[in-house]
Symmetry: C2
Subunit: 394 residues, 2 copies
């Protein structure tokens, strides 16, 4: 019986994790849950899974929730960001971190420092603080198990050789809904269009990141920290069908790939059990039925977010935190229709350029928090002042 904490249990990955737990009560016991503001769904989950503790990130929603249902108070670890860390520290076998954005970092560190394995869906954890997270994991021996199809694929493919024999990691990218759009067509992309992802059904923020391919850029940074591979040896391959989830090329020229239907439950299942592969009942890939798989190179000109992300990763220090914060602000503004699609990379680039100063030699929490806050402020200021790039006002 595996004791599981699910942080972000009302989001897409959180709900799918609980679907798996529901289908396998003999395997799992939920010991902790956390939600953002969707307290109605959280209440249902608490009723069903009876966790020892839960937390609510959104304090206003949490206050209302606790006022409405007093009997839950004893299991409530608290409200706000700190409470998420308390839930992450509960005695468990694995913490599934399905939080969105920068908020995912501290709970990841809390779990790893407590020696608990983390099934990590939250990209920003490794993006903004890869060095800290790696250090925390190495100190206690806790594992970081990726919960996204690409890194789960890489983790699986790496088993076919030794780490020192790896020549290249090849992350596949669906290319998003605008894979075939010209730069000119991209000018007119609306919120609605950006939220229509061809293969994956996900939350709004990550769907926009998948459209701009910022998501893929962040995944390169993630892969760098997860697998200790330098940036020059991490490639991106556009593959619209999202069947080949990623590949590893070894020194002998052999390429190992992991394939499956685009179903997030597969990497969740693998993270919950790795390295074991117990029988699962998900629909199985039938390549003859799929018929064709396509592959093409990434066009960096139409998808500048990838190079922005990798550039920030190479510079290191707080640059990835600045990139991430600027992107979060830009995407939120785009979703609120306060920023145009093509202004997303331009805004990020402007903020990164404004950062200018050299990165601190040693990354610490304070530096990251400061960089995050600074970048949000600068990005927000640029949006309020109009277009960040000197183009005519939005």
């Amino acid at each position: 019986m595996k004791r599981v904490v699910v942080l972000g249990s009302t989001g897409s990955v959180g709900r799918q994790t609980l679907d798996i737990v529901r289908a396998h009560p003999e395997r799992f016991q939920v010991v902790g849950l956390s939600a953002g503001s969707n307290v109605d769904l959280l209440a249902q989950q608490i009723d069903e899974f009876e966790p020892q503790v839960f937390a609510i990130a959104d304090e206003a929603a949490g206050d209302e929730f606790l006022a409405r249902d007093r009997r839950l108070r004893s299991a409530c670890a608290g409200l706000g960001a700190t409470a998420l860390c308390d839930v992450a520290r509960v005695r468990a076998d694995i913490v599934v971190n399905a939080l969105l954005g920068y908020a995912g970092l501290e709970p990841t560190l809390a779990a790893l420092e407590a020696g608990t394995d983390v099934a990590l869906s939250n990209k920003e954890t490794l993006v903004v603080a890869g060095a800290l997270v790696r250090h925390a994991a190495d100190a206690t021996g806790a594992r970081i198990l990726p919960v996204d199809s690409e890194h789960s694929a890489i983790l699986q493919c790496l088993r076919a050789g030794e780490r020192r024999e790896v020549r290249r990691l090849i992350l596949t990218a669906s290319g998003g809904p605008f894979r075939t759009h010209s730069r000119e067509e991209m000018r007119r992309i609306t919120r609605q269009e950006a939220l229509r992802h061809p293969t994956w059904s996900m939350g709004a923020k990550i769907t926009v990141d998948s459209a701009t391919l910022m998501n893929k850029g962040l995944e390169v940074l993630e892969a760098h920290w997860l697998f200790d591979v330098e940036f020059d040896r991490i490639d991106i391959l556009v593959h619209p069908e999202s069947i080949v989830h990623s590949l590893v090329e070894f020194d002998d020229g052999s390429v190992i790939a992991q394939l499956g239907l685009p179903d997030m439950r597969l990497p969740i299942w693998y993270a919950l059990h790795a390295p074991a592969r117990p029988e699962a009942s998900f629909a199985t890939l039938d390549l003859a039925a799929v018929g064709r798989l396509h592959f093409e190179s990434l066009d960096h000109e139409r998808f500048p977010c990838v190079a922005l992300a990798i550039g920030a990763g190479r510079r290191g220090g707080v640059y990835p935190a600045i990139l991430n914060a600027a992107n979060e602000v830009a995407v939120a503004a785009f979703l609120d229709e306060r920023l145009r699609y093509l202004d997303i990379p331009d805004l990020i680039d402007t903020v990164l350029k404004e950062a200018g100063a050299p990165a601190p030699a040693r990354l610490d929490h304070g530096a990251i928090r400061d960089a995050d806050a600074w970048a949000r402020e600068v990005a927000t200021r640029h949006i309020l002042q109009g277009c960040p790039t000197g183009d005519p006002p939005c």
Copy 2:
């Protein structure tokens, strides 16, 4: 420094093995060679690689060769089939068995019994005598390392999980030159057409086997013995580009594939070093340049050889030996234009049906040799008597 014996050194796989040795003199030392009848090429190879011993399978060609060049006599282990076994028993780290047909069995057993790993390109070894070969390997702990792209791929993919977690092996098949031929068009297939394989450049016998897909049927039997997987869990997937060399589906639904350019040196390199993956300089797969991969189901109606092979494998005992002998006779007759393309499976089926009697409970050399001889005789008789199926005379 690895001491290597190459049996069948003048054939396609043998020559490619020696290409690798030539390019890496710091890694390999050739200690034994054998050829069939191409003694001119063998003489060059002996000059270049200076093996301790060699053997020539074709006695007439061998007699002439030794009469011509007396100084080679001291290194000659002998002529004929027995001499191949003597070469296989030389003190070596690995015996590359690139012999064609049934003649490959005894040298494989000789090497394994001597405790030497065998890099096995010869299909018939495992097809006709899987149980014996498995037993010989298990007795000394010597390994059988497949030298064909499909089984090498499976061996590599299996590293991504435990053996008990394997749900299916999926062998890919290019589909050969007649993948899209109707049964009617197949009636008119000529020797020249059958020898034009779309992706691999190989010897005549194996090229015809690839056209009829008998090759793939034999590979299913090989996979059964190499990986100890029952026939129900070995599938075939048609994949014309021969880029995905094979796949393994695990119990959790995850599918692991091995990919590479169609280059036989890749599986040879892997067999020579497995499980290590030293740096190789073969041209690297660029999936974006390949662009598309196609997959389709196997049509058993147009390619009946596959079911004939698997049927013989399921029946066990000497049936695979009968199948193999009948196929060798049929393909030789087709290459001599004494048999039509569509008569190949019909002849094999006729011989298998004539075998009738139950398989002996225990497989031994004598039973295999007898079955082989019997099947050759029956197949030859049918060819001499005209078409095996009661169709109008050829």
